[in-house]
């Protein structure tokens, strides 16, 4: 399992990063004790969600089946992938499926759960890089142009898949620059062929 290097450890002063005690704060203008600078803030107290789990003893001998991971807890569902019995603590509801933790880990690692994906290829950035980098090497436009257009199409597909509200201008710009690279590459090729023809004619 990959562990993120960004360890955000709760509320802090937006200026100096000193930790803040949210319990003592009220909504409005605050002043950091460490750097004495003021800022607006609204504190919240996130509710603690407790999962109600029925024990096998409460359900009675014929009332419930034990969870595969927690023998004392009554099972409330089956895993839709492997069929194992699971209690309310183990049940993972994602993308319309009920999964046990092991199946969730496996499917998330395989990238089969769209909602659990947190890493994507940066097609938009790659398209922009190829679009602007390719313009400096217009003599390679016949190579870089199609690659730029391919990356721009992938970026547009990713935009649609992730339902993003921005980035359309960048994608269109990358496509136009890709077409310009192809035109530049063709121009360079035609010029090269013309030069070669003139040399041969001499």
């Amino acid at each position: 399992m990959e562990v993120s290097a960004r360890a955000d450890t709760g509320p802090a002063c937006p200026y100096c990063g000193a930790p803040l005690l949210v319990e003592l704060m009220t909504a409005g203008v605050q002043r950091c004790v460490a750097c004495t600078r003021g800022f607006e803030a609204v504190p919240f107290s996130p509710p603690i969600v407790r999962v109600a789990v029925q024990s096998v003893a409460e359900a009675g001998p014929g009332g419930a089946v034990a969870c595969a991971q927690h023998p004392g807890n009554a099972a409330v569902a089956n895993c839709s992938r492997c069929g194992v019995f699971m209690c309310g603590l183990c049940r993972v509801h994602i993308d319309g499926r009920e999964l046990c933790p092991a199946c969730f880990d496996r499917l998330a690692a395989e990238g089969a759960l769209p909602s659990a994906r947190s890493r994507f290829r940066n097609y938009r950035g790659l398209a922009a890089l190829m679009a602007f980098g390719g313009c400096w090497m217009y003599f390679l436009g016949l190579l870089t142009g199609p690659v730029t257009i391919y990356l721009a199409i992938q970026a547009q597909r990713q935009r649609r898949r992730l339902q993003e509200s921005d980035g359309l201008v960048a994608v269109i710009l990358a496509m136009l620059l890709g077409l310009m690279q192809i035109a530049g590459g063709l121009f360079f090729l035609v010029s090269l062929l013309g030069l070669a023809a003139r040399l041969v004619a001499r």
């Binding site: 993120s4 960004r6 955000d8 450890t9 709760g10 509320p11 802090a12 937006p14 200026y15 803040l20 949210v22 704060m25 605050q30 600078r37 003021g38 800022f39 607006e40 803030a41 609204v42 504190p43 919240f44 107290s45 996130p46 509710p47 969600v49 407790r50 109600a52 993308d95 319309g96 769209p114 909602s115 994906r117 947190s118 890493r119 994507f120 290829r121 940066n122 950035g125 790659l126 890089l129 898949r161 992730l162 339902q163 993003e164 509200s165 921005d166 980035g167």
Partner: protein, 202 residues
């Protein structure tokens, strides 16, 4: 398989080290850490936000960068002052960079930050303090609604559990309680006489 929620682009927080884009979905803020090849997402759910802040700050690093750039442009203009046209172009560039530096030094950017226990979302608005204020208010409203909804659901669930554990005693109308009504009068009171039948004596 459910579609992912629509992601509304809120803003970005670009520093020298990393580029960050922040999106809003129906239930969370999504922070996209972008490098050239990959986008890494982290979600900050509205129901786990502990603090939302709004503060204003001057971009000192950008300021230094622009000062260095304008100094380099000015020195270049001095170095090539023998070529009048080129020197004028560089001088114009210096003036533009210097004006931009001045504007950036005068304007303070507005920064909206949402802190959770495990994640943080920061959005920087350089030229649009009004939009920063709108997003700050909208964020506070959404967080309040999400946490209020969960708290209400939890309160309703606990009330239901209490009702199941301690059911209310049955309420009887006066004179109909099983221990006060005479056994012989009960059927007559319950079944009124049909039409044509003899009325009970008064």
């Amino acid at each position: 398989m459910t579609e992912p929620a629509r992601r509304i682009f809120l803003g970005r927080d670009t520093s020298w080290a990393e580029r960050v884009r922040v999106y809003r979905t129906d239930e969370a803020l999504e922070v996209a850490y972008i490098n050239t090849f990959e986008v890494s997402l982290r979600r900050l759910f509205f129901d786990e936000v502990q603090l939302v802040t709004l503060h204003r700050v001057r971009g000192s690093r950008t300021l230094w960068l622009l000062i260095v750039l304008s100094a380099l442009s000015g020195l270049s203009a001095l170095a090539v002052r023998s070529a009048a046209g080129f020197s004028f172009g560089l001088f114009t560039l210096t003036a533009i960079v210097f004006a931009w530096t001045l504007v950036t030094a005068l304007i303070r950017s507005s920064v909206v930050t949402a802190y959770g226990a495990r994640a943080r979302a920061r959005i920087r608005f350089l030229y649009r303090p009004g939009k920063a204020r709108r997003i700050y208010d909208d964020l506070c409203r959404r967080v309040g609604e999400a946490q209020g909804r969960i708290a209400a659901e939890a309160a309703a669930a606990s009330a239901r559990q209490l009702e199941e554990a301690f059911p209310e005693p049955p309420v009887f109308a006066p004179g109909t309680a099983p221990d006060t009504a005479p056994a012989s009068a009960a059927p007559a009171a319950a079944d009124p006489p049909a039409d044509g039948a003899a009325a009970p004596p008064r």
